[in-house]
Homo-oligomer: 223 residues x 4
DNA sequence: GATGAATGAGCGTTCATTCAT
DNA sequence: TATGAATGAACGCTCATTCAT
């Protein structure tokens, strides 16, 4: 997927450090207040640069947002690719999937917030290509289940789609916990002060229920 | 929980019908365009009342939104209360829960949209008290599981919290399907053109896996 | 020619006096500084109304200009129609034409200025229909000459087009005198402090040279 | 008349070629888009020099315009001086005057456009000294007529001023044809597809009517 | 109480001008 | 001297809110 480029050459020529600073501040603003409620002027001030400079870096406010998003698509993709390894045990993979999901959510809550803001309110405005990433991530869960069944690890009776949907929903909810106060409260209400690894472990118990192992046929020979 | 009152006495004295019409139109606008992109003027026009009157009903635009939200807290509460009957079979109740969830989502997608819009972008702006409703709804699932275990229907080994979290996540995801294109796509990707009752049936299979029945002790007597 | 309507109903409902005041001030600003150099804010201030009101009267700055122009099309048309009477002596008509031209120029120099500003710099931007008036005026001169020849008053040897162009050019130049300092100086340089009627008289002498009378054929019968 | 100097020494020290290129491009921009709509940045880019350099050549945008104008005063003066030769036949001179006028208009429509733009919209802004050129050119026509009468070629009855004004007006109108769509249309309406020399010929017929020859008294003796 | 015109702060964006390198 | 990034005042326009009738 080509994601284009929404910033100017001037921005590109800035030191990586300065680029980061500007983008991070913008991310924080957008995440905190939503895109529409954020002001370029305020972002500029907080970043310690002039208002005009913002426009020499990003032709429009939309472009600033798009820059933020595209910058993170590759990052997330990379993280997932590095973590999920089809050759591994399926539950290991799913566990990794949840672990990574929670890690991303914890480290980049603002990005998740922005992502949801867009999915929610600006779907018609922003390039559909940009809104694809999440789905690319999702497919993985279903794939993993399919692989597990194909390999004979998982019961062939498993309803792949609804099971994948269920598991995916849990991950979405966890993702949201990093963002909205509501979801955060929900998480706390159910998991208290548990650490993320502990939460993942609990969830994996549920996952194993949803995805039962293939009944070992050795029971027959045992009798 | 005090949810306060955000409209004026003048609005209260309007006929119920007129109140409804105004609120419904506002709901539709907010849901379609987002809160910030909606115009009081346009809402007034579509409701067939004067611009000025809007301000005699709701002191500010925020108050209009708050009125909408608080008005619906009671409605949703009522619906759930009517549907969930603790005396019924637990799975019957959970099934009803999903059915009602999907029904509300289908009939009032605008409200869900507004809800998420606020949770997402206006959390700093709107009173936290207002953001409580969803949680009140949620508690039900956990309650049901607890009841099920207490009655001896469900296995006492069930991890109540994580199970409730999982089931609740599925319902959240379904709710979101009525609103965001992304979630809508996800639903279609996993369930195709299945009807809501069919989807609920599939999900109930998952739910039953998550919530296993108590092992019948009759096995003991059998020996 | 339908010229549409570029102001809002709100403006229409204003007292004629207030409408006049606003328009006159805008005319003055546009004439003095040119359209692009004029500021809505300043016009509002000078008219003693709020900035926002300007936009409730005229949706855009362009619309304000268009309103000014269309408002005056009818006026000028009327004036010309009332003055030129094809049945009159041709030179009487041409004289009236110049008299009216000078009168309009003197009473509405700003309008002429705006007109030229547009013709000069905004020809691509403003509706071509709007830029027609001047030409409608022009045709008259050629018509008058044609009528004069047809009636046997003017010499049939007259080159209608170039003669009309010449006479029209003089009138354009006089019109411009009301506007640009340059043209004003030119006029003064050639006519000194002469009054407009005196100037018209002088010009009519030139016109009569350009449009010689038909040679009376009675000379033939006389021999 | 002191026309001052509006560019810097740095600009002066540039090669004549480079100076020309910069100025020509600026002229084109100003003429095409109007002064206010032209961008220093774009001119710099098109001229292949840096943005900053423009400001080392011309302290302000206004100064660039002023430089353009003063530069062309001398040029036009020269052209007219070379073409008009008082010793020639008066009609030959006037014909040359029109020919040169049309040639300049055709070759440098941009300059005419700028000239009119200023005369129209920036008269208050730009130094009056700069707005003098045209008049210097104009004087010529009156001079020629005066010379013609003095030499006994033209009828002494000719009203010098109004005749000069009339002829000059025609030339102004032709000049404008190179610039404004309206004037262009007017020209086409009256002269169709005639070439410039043909148009000049037609106009000279009018000119000869305006400026009758002195009645030769020798005709009497001739009989 | 209803109406809708009046108000003006605020926004995204532009671009002449300045300035650091 | 050349370069091009940095700056911020200014503009057209919007719209929540106020206010006169």
């Amino acid at each position: 997927m080509k994601t284009g480029k929404f910033h100017t050459g001037i921005f590109e020529r800035l030191s990586a450090k300065k680029q980061e600073r500007i983008l991070n501040i913008a991310v924080k603003e957008f995440a905190d207040k939503g895109f529409l409620n954020s002001r370029i002027k305020e972002i500029a001030q907080k970043a310690g640069i002039s208002y005009g400079s913002m426009y020499s870096y990003f032709p429009t406010k939309d472009d600033l947002l798009k820059t933020i998003i595209t910058r993170n698509i590759d990052f997330q993709k990379t993280v997932f690719k590095e973590t999920i390894n089809r050759d591994d045990d399926i539950f290991e993979n799913i566990k990794n999937f949840f672990t990574v999901t929670l890690k991303i959510a914890e480290e980049n809550p603002e990005l998740i917030a922005i992502w949801r803001d867009i999915a929610q309110s600006y779907h018609t405005k922003f390039l559909p290509e940009i809104i694809q990433l999440e789905q690319e991530g999702l497919i993985t869960i279903r794939d993993l289940i399919q692989t597990g069944i194909a390999r004979g690890t998982l019961s062939p009776d498993i309803m792949i789609n609804s099971s994948a949907y269920a598991i995916d929903s849990i991950s979405s909810e966890l993702l949201a916990s990093s963002v909205s106060d509501q979801n955060k409260k929900k998480k706390k209400m159910f998991f208290g002060e548990k650490t993320n690894p502990e939460i993942v472990d609990e969830i994996m118990i549920i996952v194993r229920k949803i995805l039962p192992l293939k009944q070992s046929t050795s029971s027959f020979t045992a009798s």
